[in-house]
Amino acid sequence: MNVGNLPFIVSALLVVLGIYTLLFKRNLIKLVIGVSLIETGVNLFLVMLGYRSEGIAPIYTFAPAGERMVLPTPQALTLTSIVIGLATTALLLSFAVFIWRHYGTLDVHKIKELKG
């Protein structure tokens, strides 16, 4: 089935949703979800870059001639990016836990001791 540019639109939509979450949501956990949404959008974009329709996975030592294969590089990039995203999300969530312990709130508008 030909889906055209739909995946690119979806990934742009995910990025925009993530930015919306960061701008207008108040709960720190939701902000972390927003960051993850942007990350997912970018990862989807990377995967789409290397996709060729009806392509197969490029796992060969000696590639057979005439096979359509998806590009391996963007998949490697995406894997790396997912791992980095895991570390980032874990760190953000642990900060959120400690902020809850110290401030007793997760409302981003109330966590402003550092200003001016």
Binding site: V35, E39, L49, L77, S81
Partner: protein
């Protein structure tokens, strides 16, 4: 000797990285062993950076390629061109120059940390994160590949935020950690998006390969906008600097100095993107004037906000923000005039790049002093301390020298680089030089306030710990010597290390590309 300097680019990344993960194991053997181990790793890394710099500047700052894996790193394409296939590091004058800055800051910060954390047990994780941050910064400076640049950018983001929030018993450090991590991640993801766009358009990730294929079309321009904003944010350019005072202010004092080196590495990435990757394929005048606009805002807002701070580390942090503006101004003037290449353009580049190492030394010194006096006074509030000069004579002298140097008072090093920036930006437009000089004077006023608040006044009622311990004084003294040496002999350093770095950016695009692609 020669084998070490050949492999220096990759060892600069590998040694701190392996050291970082070995620290928790070595730490089981006891504090003393661990401290010696961390010190050795830092000293070896710094020596490697020095060796690499001697090697690169010995060749006049020409670009050289380091290949990970087998030797032929190019494959010929049917079209007659070659394409790089392996993981490549590419080192030219600018990379080696940044390596020197990082080495200087990290070794003094680590030496200072030993006595800064003396009273607390544990701290293995602290040194792990600090070495990880060092590895990430070196990686950003040595890599020749856009995606690896993004990976190292994220390594520094995560390690830096781990250090900012390291003191989990302080609520404010957790707040700073969350804010900075969110902003770092968002800017990093936009950088990744730009890398993806460039990959999709040109089918490669190597900087030289991409630079060869760039056409300046719409996709390239969008990628440039994403890279420019993302990296300017991580460098702390106004109006996207709000994380910087939080980060520098709430991190442990020795870390703040390394965080400034991290911001400078992002600035290096920005310059690499603008000069080497894009060059004149997009309008260099437009991007140059964007940098100059950022620079003026950064200089002015940074200084005026520093004037009203009462927390000594936050005050120095805003000072650090304003100094980023001077680098942007010098290099922005160079970029805006890169097509016509007038003589003052290169002078501006020299000034901006020379200011990077001067700023690293001065700001590093000031943050270390801030750490020492906040230990002695038990507070960072300028309204609550005073009279520290009675007990901390050496520390107050170091503070005065660092403050004078940063504010550009002759004969210290800040004046030498600001002199080049003033004169060159005056030739482009007198208005730029006026803002720069006015803000320097205001910065001196800022430090008069800090000195008056912290050091002058009657002897404090409850005398703190007295003079800082020797373990803190020696790193501060080393940085002070660097400040004085760069101030008294600017001609030597400008000629030997700054000019090759500036030329590598200003003229070196073709050499950088042909080092990888041949021809």
């Amino acid at each position: 000797m020669s084998a070490l300097s050949v492999h220096a680019p990759v060892l600069l990344i590998a040694i701190p990285l392996l050291g970082a993960f070995a620290v928790p194991l070595i730490g089981k053997l006891g504090r003393g062993v661990r401290d010696v181990f961390v010190g050795l790793i830092a000293a070896f890394t710094a020596a490697l950076a020095g060796l690499l710099a001697a090697d690169v500047f010995g060749r006049g700052g020409a670009a050289s390629v380091y290949v990970l894996g087998g030797k032929p790193f190019n494959i010929p394409l049917p079209s007659g061109m070659t394409a790089p296939i392996r993981i490549l590091l590419e080192v030219d004058g600018m990379s080696a120059f940044m390596g020197l800055i990082t080495a200087l800051v990290t070794i003094t910060a680590i030496a200072f940390s030993f006595s800064y954390w003396k009273k607390r047990s544990g701290g293995n994780m602290y040194y792990s994160l600090l070495l990880l941050l060092t590895a990430g910064i070196f990686g950003m400076e040595m890599t020749g590949d856009m995606f690896n640049f993004f990976v190292f950018l994220e390594v520094t983001s995560i390690a830096a935020c781990g250090l900012i929030g390291f003191r989990v018993w302080l609520g404010r450090s957790q707040e700073a950690g969350f804010k900075v991590m969110t902003l770092y991640t968002v800017s990093g993801l936009f950088v990744l998006l730009a890398v993806g766009l460039l990959y999709g358009e040109h089918g490669g990730l190597n900087i030289a390969y991409l630079a060869h294929g760039l056409t300046g079309g719409l996709i390239d321009k969008i990628a440039l906008g994403l890279l420019l904003t993302g990296l300017a944010m991580k460098a702390g350019a106004v109006p996207m600097h709000m994380w910087a005072p939080d980060a520098y202010g709430e991190a442990p004092a020795p870390t703040s100095a390394v965080l400034v080196a991290n911001s400078q590495a992002s600035l290096y990435g920005l310059f690499r993107v603008l000069f080497t990757l894009f060059g004149i394929t997009v309008s260099a005048a437009t991007t140059g004037w964007i940098l100059i606009g950022f620079a003026l805002l950064t200089i002015f807002v940074g200084v005026t906000m520093a004037l009203v701070q009462n927390d000594i580390k936050r005050l120095i942090a805003y000072g650090a923000v304003s100094q980023i503006g001077y680098m942007l101004l010098g290099v922005g003037v160079g970029l805006a005039t890169i097509v016509a290449k007038p003589a003052y353009g290169l002078v501006a580049m020299q000034g901006g790049i020379f200011h990077m190492i001067n700023d690293a030394a001065c700001i590093g010194l000031l943050f270390l002093v801030a750490g020492a006096i906040s230990r002695a006074a038990g507070t960072r509030d300028l309204n609550k301390m005073g009279g520290l000069a009675h007990t901390m004579k050496y520390t107050s002298v170091f503070f005065v020298i660092g403050a004078f140097a940063l504010a550009g008072v002759p004969p210290f090093n800040g004046f030498a680089s600001k002199f080049l920036i003033y004169e060159a930006s005056f030739k482009l437009s007198p208005f730029l030089a006026i803002i720069a000089i006015l803000s320097s004077i205001l910065l001196l006023a800022v430090f008069v306030k800090a000195f008056q608040g912290a050091f002058l006044g009657p002897r404090p009622a409850s005398p703190g710990g007295g003079e800082a311990p020797l373990g803190m004084l020696i790193p501060m003294a080393v940085l002070t010597l660097v400040v004085i040496a760069f101030g008294l002999f600017p001609g030597f350093f400008v000629e030997r290390i700054v000019t090759p770095a500036a030329r590598a950016l200003w003229f070196g695009r073709d050499a950088y590309i042909s080092a990888i692609l041949g021809g």
